[in-house]
């Protein structure tokens, strides 16, 4: 047998691979190379045998210990005591989690329902207030259906007819700084709905006070929709077509104050006008 020296360069290279060889972690080519070397090198063969013996001694000693049977039984007993529930914890925890889940779902449902209700209510408000804005824009702004010099009161009363003539004074008295130029009953083309329309001028702009019968239309109740309370009347506001509108609901009627004045100004004007106007409408109804 051709015996190589232990310190030879080739042996050193083989030694570096012996750990991986012993663990069967080498590529086939490297394993073949080592096997070829071992065939001719007694020193490396002896070294590998020693390492293999140490590993076998360790394996034998490590597996000689007998695990205690009581420990196994104790573990199996505890496994049965801690049967994981649906969420892996104790039964109490599972119930708590389930309860918390139900509470979250219920609260979430309430919040979602309320949110849908608010959205729907705001849509209704916008739809109702759009009636007043449309009449103001069609009749007063686009139609310019008012004179430059205010029509005399008696003419306006005649145009309003006996049912609504009394409202002229209410509007005139409760719109300080505004002059009633025109008052009539009109309707938007294509619609059978009629409006009592007061066209006023003041603060450098045209402001309309519009009254129409409800005909089933209603403004939603609740603080989430109204802007202010004028007397006992809820005021709603919206901004549409470049106009600010304040709307209210009286017995049998919907009323609107529409102008291009700022929102707060429009609301302040409506705040003063609406309570007496509401009272007058109650009498008419």
């Amino acid at each position: 047998m051709n015996v190589l020296n232990f310190d030879s360069r080739q042996c050193e290279g083989i030694h570096r691979h012996l750990d991986a060889y012993l663990s069967n972690e080498l590529l086939v080519e490297t394993t073949s190379e080592i096997l070829r070397h071992l065939e001719t090198c007694e020193a490396c063969t002896r070294e590998l045998e020693t390492r293999t013996r140490v590993r076998d001694l360790l394996r034998r000693a490590a597996t000689s210990q007998i695990p205690p049977e009581e420990l196994r039984l104790s573990i199996e007993r505890r496994l049965r005591e801690t049967q994981p529930g649906a969420w892996g914890g104790s039964r109490q925890l599972n119930w708590a989690v389930a309860l918390a889940g139900i509470v979250v779902i219920v609260l979430g449902g309430i919040v979602a329902h309320e949110w849908v209700r608010v959205l729907r209510g705001r849509k209704i408000v916008a739809g109702v207030l759009a009636l007043g804005v449309a009449d103001h824009v069609q009749c007063a702004i686009k139609g310019h259906n008012y004179p430059e010099v205010a029509n005399p009161p008696e003419v306006l009363r005649k145009k309003l007819g006996p049912q609504y003539a009394g409202l002229l004074e209410v509007v005139q008295q409760n719109l300080p700084g505004f002059e009633v130029l025109e008052a009539h009953i009109c309707s938007i083309p294509g619609s059978s709905r009629k409006y009592v329309h007061f066209i006023t001028r003041g603060r450098g702009t045209i402001l309309s006070v519009i009254l129409t019968k409800k005909d089933g239309a209603r403004l939603p109740s609740g603080g989430a929709f109204r802007s202010v309370v004028a007397g006992h009347v809820n005021l709603y506001e919206a901004h549409q077509q470049g106009m600010n509108v304040a709307g209210f609901e009286s017995r049998g009627y919907l009323g609107f104050v529409v102008s291009d004045l700022e929102t707060n100004t429009t609301l302040q004007i409506a705040d003063q006008l609406v309570p007496p106007l509401n009272a007058a409408l109650q009498e008419i109804s």
Partner: protein, 189 residues
Amino acid sequence: MFFRPKVRVEDFEATAMVHFPALYRTARLLAQETAEAEDLVQEVYLEAWKSFHRFEAGTNCRAWLFKILFHRLHHFRRRWAKAAKVEAFDKPEDQESIAAEPPVPQEIHDEDVLGALEKVPAEFREVVLLADVQEFSYKEVADTLKLPLGTVMSRLSRGRKLLRRELAEIASSYGIKSAKDQASTGESA
């Protein structure tokens, strides 16, 4: 999934308890005391049981349990704070001293081997146990211990050398000659 499928303790026992001897033996060779090893194994099984719904049937249950074992072991070890430091064996002179490849005697008892193993620092001992006793691949050892592959290889090499040195010392203290020495004595006779 909000709800998990119900798992049966019988299924868990059939899958996991067959590895109880291997887990216990490994834990016993890494823990300081028998009681600590028993606590450790018990915790491993309870933890595995709680997360058994995540275990995929047909995958390597033994590797999964050993991963839990070492996760818990390292947690315990921080509590024990008794394990030897790796740094002490990272010095070049230590590498030189264990690079001498001491011979190992032929006759040596299991208790001596375990005594020698106990003197090997835990960081090396755990790699040697996983690779040489449990026969995990390098990659499985790396996954179990959350170590880079290169670290596993170097720790295994160092651990084996340390064990061999300890065995040689124990044998020497008993007056047992190594196989090489015995061979040379035989030749001279």
